[in-house]
Symmetry: C2
Subunit: 291 residues, 2 copies
């Protein structure tokens, strides 16, 4: 059955609860021309992204990535090599072993990845947030959307990007799943977690709906060079949003683990319909929002 | 790393060998117009096939299917419902739980499935056949290719098929992975196993190459209504080919398990280059063969 979470949680047959790690399973597909504009980013970037979106699903459960299966449609041998460069770079970077997959002919470039992960103890679901829990994000938002905007403005071809534009372009071309952050969040007792793939507004709305809480955001950290709209509604950041009842411990735990401290952005509230940013209603349906 | 087998074999972290079941992972993609002609078979059949080709990979390792992730590209809501009808029918029939997946827009219909399975004890690889081992298939061959031939001859539209044509058409439209047979084959000590997806000649060639043996086939069982060429080179039968040193026990074990007795088709030989059928050389490169 569909779990409604980023990844499905599975126990090995015959095993007792707590006896061994739980298995996480997730699959995500990227389609050229829809999930990436290959006139603006490379096939290698596309391979990286196919892996990153999947690894982010494991991160959002607080798991460690283990294995990937990669199915590719519509690429010839040379193109496949370019794609696999990015796939293997992401796999190596985040400790995921590519163990199999499939190659098919087709008129459209489609990369389907399935990943497994392991989690010692209980995975973090979307549904566990309680009123009063603080809400955090693991990094400033909007970088990927801003990077795509810069790439579109510049058009095809190589460009020399200065800082901070290079960071924005990289955030779009090679998003980094927050794997280490997700593990720390789980260990410090995060009550709910989700990754930002559709935009903070949409994904936090998902988390709140699944947890039967509302939320009031006090501030949203915007990536340098990004706009507030990109931070709220821009997708593909793969930052994690998490909730926890213990604000001080959270920052300590992140710093102790050597990952950047998360940003406190607000609080869960009992009114499950409430979606507000700095006292103003946030409309999330269909990517809309108002400030 | 790629295993070169039908599925990758994975052990849970921290577990000792033999302590718990091994995890099998496999992924296969089907593309409309390439893996199925949707003017001849239905979307529901296409969904069934997407599952069946994956379940067959688990079967070929001697495992039991556990979970599936299904990623779909290029279908609208109504079409998706038709596709999922076949997916869920196959999932129910072979005890596999669909736990997640992904839905993407796209101009081409692509269904990527990833499956897990569990195996108690050692999975059966392609590489374990020894000279002198007998070679078996779990059912007569060529039915799927013959069914496709009948469908092409008849053209689009519903048809009333009499027996044995209906069985051939079903073998093409709704291939049945040999899950129960694979488990019995493992339990009775099969040394190597592979499923027939590309045709007996090509797949047995794979098994022999990976095992560093040759083979001499004495006879090949041909499905009723199929032609010998279809039995040797027709793909998509998803019958299992297995090798074992103990011919009598094999038949007994299959019958005791309530699955049809396998067909003895030949023997592995020490000359690793030998590929022969009834004393004549079998050429397998590029689907060619001669009798």
């Amino acid at each position: 059955m569909w779990s409604g979470d980023d990844a499905a949680v599975v126990r090995a047959p015959g095993s007792s609860p707590g006896q061994q790690p739980l298995l996480l399973l997730a699959a995500d597909t990227v389609v050229a021309g829809i999930d990436a504009d290959l006139s603006l980013t490379t096939l290698s970037d596309f391979g990286w992204k196919a892996m990153a979106v999947n690894l982010s699903d494991i991160a959002a459960m607080g798991g460690r990535p283990a294995h990937a299966l990669v199915s590719v449609v519509g690429l010839g041998p040379d193109e496949l090599e370019d794609l696999y460069e990015g796939i293997m770079e992401a796999a190596a970077e985040f400790g995921c072993d590519v163990v199999g997959g499939d190659l098919s002919a087709g008129s459209e470039v489609v990369v389907s990845v399935a990943v497994t992960g392991w989690v010692d103890g209980e995975p973090v679901l979307r549904s566990g947030a309680q009123p009063g829990d603080r809400i955090w994000v693991t990094a400033p938002l909007g970088a990927a959307a801003a990077g795509l905007r810069l790439l579109r403005q510049a058009g095809p071809g190589p460009h020399d990007w200065g800082a901070p534009d290079q960071a924005l372009v990289s955030a779009h071309a090679r998003p980094r799943p927050a794997v280490a952050e997700g593990v720390v969040a789980r260990l410090v007792g995060a009550t709910a977690m989700i990754d930002v793939s559709d935009g903070l507004a949409a994904d936090l709305d998902q988390l709140a709906t699944r947890s039967s809480v509302g939320f009031e955001l006090s501030s949203v950290p915007v990536a340098e060079g990004a706009e507030i709209e990109e931070a709220l509604a821009g997708g593909d950041d793969y930052v994690l949003v998490l909730t926890t009842p213990r604000p001080v411990e959270v920052v300590k735990a992140f710093v102790a683990a050597g990952v950047p401290a998360p940003y406190l952005i607000g609080e869960c509230v009992a009114d499950r319909r409430l979606r507000s940013v700095a006292g103003k209603t946030l409309r999330v349906a269909g990517w809309e929002h108002s400030l």
